[in-house]
Subunit: 194 residues, 2 copies
């Protein structure tokens, strides 16, 4: 599918609405109203609301992974500080939305992760692509003595993802970024450290 301004606008509006209202709370009509296109245009680009959401997951993952790649490529910080800077940047982004929205991927995993096979497959693919990058940071950190070596890098990465996503849920309940900041520091400086 070639890029098109209408398709991009639909994806942008869908991303915003899904982050605010979740999958079941986002009607197709609200998306169409925001972009002001007829229903036919939507179905020209997407087979269903589910396929549309899976495409939004892929777009959101691309954006996150580009952030990661940029941080990794700069090589100006140690692996541990690269991770800290990246995830602090995300907390700042959450705070711009009053800590109310959290991570779109985690939200969709909770709401429809098991129910929709299209979305589940897109979410698992996003996770695999994330883990590839994150594990390489952890491996480098292990080699430099910043992270413990009694657990494989993939296992530490999985534990990090879980703790981070659970921490986002608590952030939404507390409506404050500080607990998530402490969680990040405790992970990097205590639980994951040698």
């Amino acid at each position: 599918m070639n890029p098109s301004p209408v398709r991009d606008s639909l994806l942008a509006a869908g991303t915003e609405l899904l982050a605010q209202r979740g999958y079941h709370g986002t009607g197709l009509k609200a998306v169409l109203d925001q972009v002001q296109v007829p229903k036919g245009s939507f179905y020209h680009y997407f087979a269903s609301k589910e396929a549309f959401t899976a495409e939004i997951i892929r777009h959101y993952a691309d954006w996150l992974l580009t952030l990661m790649d940029t941080a990794i490529a700069s090589q100006s910080l140690t692996p541990r500080e690269t991770i800290r800077q990246l995830y602090r940047q995300m907390i700042t982004e959450f705070e711009r939305h009053d800590c109310a929205q959290g991570c779109l991927l985690g939200n969709l995993a909770a709401e429809i992760g098991a129910a929709s096979s299209d979305c589940r497959s897109a979410l698992n693919d996003a996770y695999d692509r994330w883990q590839l990058r994150f594990s390489s940071l952890v491996t480098a950190g292990q080699e430099q003595g910043q992270f413990r070596r009694d657990l494989p890098a993939d296992t530490l990465s999985a534990l990090f993802w879980n703790t981070w996503e659970g921490g986002i849920l608590r952030m939404k309940l507390e409506r404050h970024g500080d607990p998530l900041r402490h969680t990040l520091d405790n992970l990097l400086d205590c639980l994951m450290s040698p």
Copy 2:
């Protein structure tokens, strides 16, 4: 509010539907159809769908905390093994539903944790009551040399909660209980250990 069979049936049906379909995916009509009561009866017991959901959160938390209190009162295992047994029991429960539903409290935190103040308050209250019990187990485990002492029991409890809830999200994506079982063991035997 005194207990009543109609009220209890509404809460039971609501719990099941919320676990399956989430907040926005659960229409009041589906709840009423399942219990076969008219809408007026519902509003006799609950002011709104939001108040109904907050009450379901309290009921679900009561059930979880009773499980915990029973395990703690038996005192047949060390604090670390008490935790392991309790959470393995929950994984078995998740597996009974094909790892598709996960934890109702985590799901609702993700979907409406920030949006609904009634539900947010019920979820935070459930967390506080959970943390009181869990922290006492962690403190006892620290005193017996099973858990690390460089972080306070409350901090370790918060890290456990986050990792557990994030692990449930991954379980739903992988549709398998084993990754969550490994997460639990890695937490108890590596990350939280001295």
